[in-house]
Symmetry: C2
Subunit: 334 residues, 2 copies
Amino acid sequence: MTETAPRPTLEAVAARAGVSRATASRVVNGGDGVREPLVERVRRAVEELGYVPNQAARSLVTRRHDAIAVVVAEPETRVFADPFFALQLRGISKELTAHDNQLVLLLTEGRDDHARVGRYLAGGHVDGALVFSLHLDDPLPELIQRAGVPTVFGGRPGWSDGTSGVVYVDSDNRGGAREAVRHLVGLGRTRVAHITGALDQTSAVDRLDGFRDVLADAGPRLVVEGDFTPAGGERAMRELLDRCPDVDAVFAANDLTAAGALRVLRERGRRVPDDVAVIGFDDMLPVAEQTDPPLTTVRQDIEEMGRLMARLLLRGSASAGVVLPTTLVRRASA
Amino acid sequence: MTETAPRPTLEAVAARAGVSRATASRVVNGGDGVREPLVERVRRAVEELGYVPNQAARSLVTRRHDAIAVVVAEPETRVFADPFFALQLRGISKELTAHDNQLVLLLTEGRDDHARVGRYLAGGHVDGALVFSLHLDDPLPELIQRAGVPTVFGGRPGWSDGTSGVVYVDSDNRGGAREAVRHLVGLGRTRVAHITGALDQTSAVDRLDGFRDVLADAGPRLVVEGDFTPAGGERAMRELLDRCPDVDAVFAANDLTAAGALRVLRERGRRVPDDVAVIGFDDMLPVAEQTDPPLTTVRQDIEEMGRLMARLLLRGSASAGVVLPTTLVRRASA
DNA sequence: AGCCGGTGTGAGAGCGCTCTCGGCGCCGTC
DNA sequence: GACGGCGCCGAGAGCGCTCTCACACCGGCT
């Protein structure tokens, strides 16, 4: 951690350009109200000296940091390791970069980390926070709200009834689920089942609600609880086949679950989609394209969600929740 | 982006504790050379006021930032979207957190971004950088080296001959490949093929070298180039079967490639592992465990790689390259 | 010619912190 | 009992920047 070479200060730039520090500062910050010849001189001095503003000094007086925190509260490896998060990050990064903001990443696991993150955010080190907290009982969101930092949530927080002033970006889980189920019904399937996600997450609940919107009369036999993992999908699919051997379609809460289900179906000799049609959710490419057969699924534009979150935060928009549309991607499984 | 409530300053803490600002500062920074009763008073004042040091002010004078940048140069969605990167990030995050450092994430795609990152790093906003640059011809690493920021690379940079003073952390790609191939040979396989990764990445080259270490006499017929993607694996596997129908084992450069190969093998009616044994690389769980049959593969401790990178950077260690061991994970495919 | 509004520029204060340095009290030593 | 040394504390400078404010200057008006 050695020191880098001494960097030129604004003072040096001003001296070289033959102007005052104040004028140099003005030019560096856009150059409004400075006459052209001086602007030019200062610009050249900046160039020649390789001047880069000292962000710390600037923050000290402006009280802005041009940095936002991305908080990922994820106790489980699973979600963290899936491409979902990576894609959102990418969207966020693009938007932040476009506005010259830095991205400070805070990963948490466990209670101590919560306190740490709370302290960090309350410490005013960043101008805002993007928070991913997927579990209903997660204490982190509240902690963050209390820190008084502008915040946008990724996915509807469980405790938000939708209009409590919480800003979030979510995809249309319910609508996407409806579309998937309608598609199955449209295929002429009469025994359509649903394997849910982990029901402590709003996305899982919303997808289940979407399923019920279309098949309000679906017996409890046809709804079995999963947990968003392939293993959960396998278990649920087995249970489903035992309870209801004549099932002819399955809407799985996500692609991983669908992948598990597909495996069990093959193992039990059911042909997909001939005997049983299967639809997933997410369009997680490495999974959805690699299943056998390739998975029909509901796509959400994950990267766009990230972008939008960043945009909302930077704009300081006070809008409540934003819900992005989903689209059905037809492949071979349904 | 509204202002947060005015935060207490060190001055305020000092006043409340009845000491000077200097003493308060000393206590906040460890409390050496301050007598116990005063330490106690200051600590209480900090507590009561909810004081959090202003990092900007501190950086301004110390010229340290307690922040390091993680630079991910990844033009392609593929690598970014795989769990590999996420796990490394997690390892890095843990280590940094333990040392009270922040993680600034810089994602780049394209030349403009390179310049931006170069400027940022040269700007002295962070104390160091962890760089992931997987391609041989990537200009970014050089750019960064020139920025004069302490840097640790993730994976051996292509232009590093190993002892040029470049600090990096890699896993033992070559050794892992050897182990995999030896395992196949040990199974009695006599026609062992290799589907390579994208050969503009050192990891792919090293794995190929490992293959050749064991099977120096493997004809060129048995080595076919892939690109680390499932599609590439499929293509390569087809080519392999055409060229050499009696192949009885395949060492694929990574799990995704292996997954593609498995699909083609099934399609062509080859049984795995009976007719053809398959081994992957990475032990990327969502993939390796979900293939049919579950994939035997070479595991690398990705999270530990991340940790180690961070540790090396923070310690300012000048050691050159560190290579982590791999282990063969036996599942059903070989 | 004198006044006035507007526009450009410079001087200087001060953001919140760290760190050096000098002072002061207390100990041990002769 | 005087003195050097050491340990603890406070005063104050200054990190590099922004921003307010005063001032200089210019043109157009009376």
